[in-house]
């Protein structure tokens, strides 16, 4: 029962690289997932019936199955169709698809909170269609979904750890590697958990600041 964090210092570079890869993976999945979310939310409202049906099943399938199985399916099954992706790329694809399903639901619920009368009020002020969308629909909708969107982002950040299961290189993979070298499992996983916690706090703090700066207009009537 002795603690020894000394040995871990040798692997400082690997840990830093792990953090960078984890943040990169999160960033890729968040951006790609948000694009899926935007197009999915718009098509799900106004697209043709088969498209809507497809989007609905996409959301339900992704949200009701484990991300681990989704990653396995992408990584192990795509090669059977002749498309062989390296682990990190496969994880990026799988997590984008995963985040996209949640993003559609969040963005859809944001658009749903804007009453029709508000759009009509904007139009009656003589605003163009684009101005109405930009100021009357998008801005308040973004404000409404901001909290759930950012917490989903944090869940994504933590969720990227499962990419280690197809040996994609990111922070958790680094942890397993260092553990296999040092056998200091307590110290290694304590450090890995602490880094994830620090990342979570940093992103939450940044989101709070951004939210306060971006959504400054008053809402109370």
């Amino acid at each position: 029962m002795n603690l020894n964090f000394q040995q871990l210092w040798r692997y400082q570079d690997q840990f830093i690289e792990g953090v960078i890869l984890t943040v990169t993976l999160t960033g890729i999945a968040a951006v790609a997932g948000t694009l899926i979310g935007l197009s999915g939310a718009i098509l799900g409202r106004s697209g043709p019936q088969p498209v809507r049906w497809f989007i609905r099943s996409y959301i339900e399938i992704i949200r009701n199955t484990p991300a681990l199985i989704q990653i396995f399916l992408i990584f192990f099954v795509l090669p059977t169709f002749g498309l062989k992706l390296p682990p990190f790329e496969a994880a990026s694809v799988a997590l984008s698809i995963y985040f996209g399903a949640y993003a559609i639901e969040i963005i859809r619920s944001g658009l749903d909170t804007i009453p029709r009368s508000q759009i009509e009020a904007g139009a009656s002020l003589g605003l163009s269609r684009w101005e109405v969308f930009r100021h009357i629909v998008l801005a308040p909708a973004l404000r409404n979904i901001y909290p759930s969107f950012t917490s989903q982002f944090v869940l994504l950040l933590l969720g990227t750890s499962i990419a280690s299961q197809i040996s994609a290189e990111e922070l958790f993979h680094t942890g397993s590697f260092v553990e296999s070298r040092t056998y200091r499992s307590f110290e290694v996983y304590a450090v890995v958990c602490a880094i994830y916690f620090a990342l979570t706090m940093a992103f939450k703090g940044a989101f709070a600041v951004i939210g306060r700066l971006a959504f400054r207009w008053p809402v109370r009537r």
Partner: protein
């Protein structure tokens, strides 16, 4: 190399019982802790609020995979003891579910109007009785959709117990996939079983929420 047979399907369903054991364990150990955390968060004693808030922030800022590895590989080595897998995994899942349920239930309790507490206290009952008989039943109704939503998250989360060698549904899928070289078929079946468990709960949660919104 052999083909995927009904006996493989049986082994998947046999492993399913361990998934259910894990979910049950997570709820049975996590729920009392979650209730305590929720009550601490609304307590009048500031240090209790701080401790609960710190715990919730901490656990919600760590990946479930990290919790599992820490309690399965880390803690036993540190303490120099042998811990059965089910105990280590059970503790990790209890920590996980207590943090999320604690936050959901606190939200439910705080959604009940303050006037309800005041009305209850004017009846001359103790603060615990106020909570137990007046606040909790209303809070439960409000928090039920989110609680069931978390149950879905938990069922999916048990798939991560596979990484510490726990043979539940996801791990059984890996084994079957390795034996048959039919990942598409095996993982599709595994995904379908998870879906069959989670989707009805999702629907239930959604209908409860719709009813709740209608009632307000």
């Amino acid at each position: 190399m052999r083909i995927f047979t009904t006996s493989d399907l049986f082994s998947l369903f046999a492993a399913l019982q361990w998934t259910i054991v894990l979910v049950t364990l997570a709820i049975a150990l996590g729920a009392p802790l979650a209730l305590a955390l929720a009550l601490m968060r609304i307590s009048k004693i500031a240090p209790l609020r701080w401790i609960a808030a710190a715990y919730l922030q901490l656990v919600q800022g760590i990946p479930l995979l990290g919790l599992l590895m820490f309690f399965y590989f880390g803690v036993p080595v540190f303490l120099g003891i042998q811990v059965p897998a089910i105990v280590a995994v059970g503790i990790a899942f209890a920590a996980y579910s207590s943090a999320f349920l604690g936050e959901i239930w606190r939200g439910g309790i705080q959604a009940v109007k303050q006037a309800q507490w005041e009305a209850a206290s004017s009846l001359g009952i103790t603060r615990w009785q106020q909570f137990r008989y007046v606040i909790a039943p209303q809070a439960l109704r409000i928090a039920l959709p989110a609680t069931i939503g978390f149950l879905v998250q938990l069922i999916k989360g048990t798939s991560l117990a596979s990484v510490v060698g726990f043979v539940e549904l996801a791990r059984a899928g890996q084994l079957a996939s390795a034996a048959t070289f039919q990942p598409l078929l095996v993982y599709s079946v595994v995904a379908a079983i998870y879906f069959a468990m989670c989707f009805p709960l999702t629907i239930w949660s959604r209908s409860l929420e719709a009813r709740l919104n209608g009632a307000r």
